[in-house]
Amino acid sequence: MSKPFDRRKFLKVSGMSLGVGALISVAPAMAGGGPSATLRRWFRRQNGEELTPFNLVQLSDAHVGFQGPPNPTGTKAFERAIDVVNGLDPQPDLILFTGDLTHEAEAPGEHAKRMQLFQTLTSRLKSKKVMYVPGEHDAALDNGVLYRQFFGETHYAFDHRGVHFIALDNVSSGKPAVGTEQIEWLKRDLARYPRTAPIIVFTHRPLFDLRPDWEWFTRDGDDVLNALAPYENVTILYGHIHRHDVHQTEHAMHYASRSLIFAFPDPMTAGDKKPVPFDKEKPFRNLGLQSLAEKKGRLDVDDVELTLREFGGTDGVQQILKSGESL
């Protein structure tokens, strides 16, 4: 049934420099005839929308409600990111938020307040098409009940400018897993698309084993990647690891966006999973977002680190602390 993977096409992708995503094997041919013209017609027929240039932004891991030494400035980096996105020209036509929108709370009602605050902050975004997936801090303690009240379903799919987007939930069961039911749903969803369709999956945890002893993996990530394997143009965006990362598996490119609260160290060299200490001189150091654009037939993924020059130094940090307490 499923066609064996075409290694020749894969090699074409792997020959590109890192940072170039997998939309590329379709897009260059878009101008010409052949299969791409068929695909373009197919998308127009199915969705009333053909493959057209797009730009989007990925935000991740704001942890609204988090308080602690790794970042005493609360939501300031998140708010800064919103300003950065609002300053983009052209505006992104889509914003993807890859989980841990909020930090969990034990007190009843407090988690809902944090979700409310998250929504108040994101309502400042000029670009109104914002799509979400949950992180474990949003949805793992109550299996996504509260999250659904605020943000809707935890997994879904949609088409945008000729790209098929798939939101996957690998947190709400409590375990780092997608689960059989969702994988069956994914297979049914994918079956409607031609092998050449450009696909962007967004999820919270890495779908490959990045650092299992730091819980940087998904138990059934291989099942997801196998379901996606027949498709030739797959990009996966995720968060959870609080740092930028680019990784290639046989069938897909994986990009992690920085966090908006604190960073984790390099998993290849660090022993323990401990947040990178807060730097008063550069309060938003290592924090940021990803900006993605289709440029000349390629998917460019830009890792953007936030800067906050106007708030640098001890005095600057005092300015952004609401309470003005010393660090």
């Binding site: 303690l141 409590g174 375990k175 002893d213 138990r219």
Partner: protein, 111 residues
């Protein structure tokens, strides 16, 4: 007659099991720690890890040792493994259990 047959059968099964029964190590999990926090196993020696959860669901995961258990207070989960290489392995709780979840782990030494 039937009953006698089953009794005989269970004696046989128990008897066989006892001869080859691996050493049992019990571990308990609660927010946000495993007790004991460290165990030592022998390379090449089969061992059964019997892991219970005291307060809520937890996970017990160690990739290299092929440990992947779902823990819940209403049953004791167990896995029998034969460690093939020596080293220090970090087993984690991989079922999100609250604020200290990210540091819920224990060490499995294999000598």
């Amino acid at each position: 007659m039937k009953r006698i047959f089953f009794t005989l059968l269970s004696v046989v099964i128990l008897g066989t099991a006892q001869e080859t029964q691996p050493r049992v190590v019990t571990i308990s999990a609660k927010r946000f720690e495993f007790t004991p926090s460290q165990i030592t196993l022998k390379r090449g020696e089969p061992v059964t890890l019997r892991v219970s959860a005291e307060d809520r669901d937890h996970g017990f995961y160690q990739k290299d040792l092929k440990l992947e258990l779902d823990l819940s207070p209403d049953h004791v989960a167990e896995a029998t493994i034969t460690p093939e290489k020596t080293g220090r392995f970090v087993a984690i709780c991989d079922h999100f259990c609250g604020s200290g979840h990210g540091n819920m782990k224990m060490i499995i030494n294999v000598e």
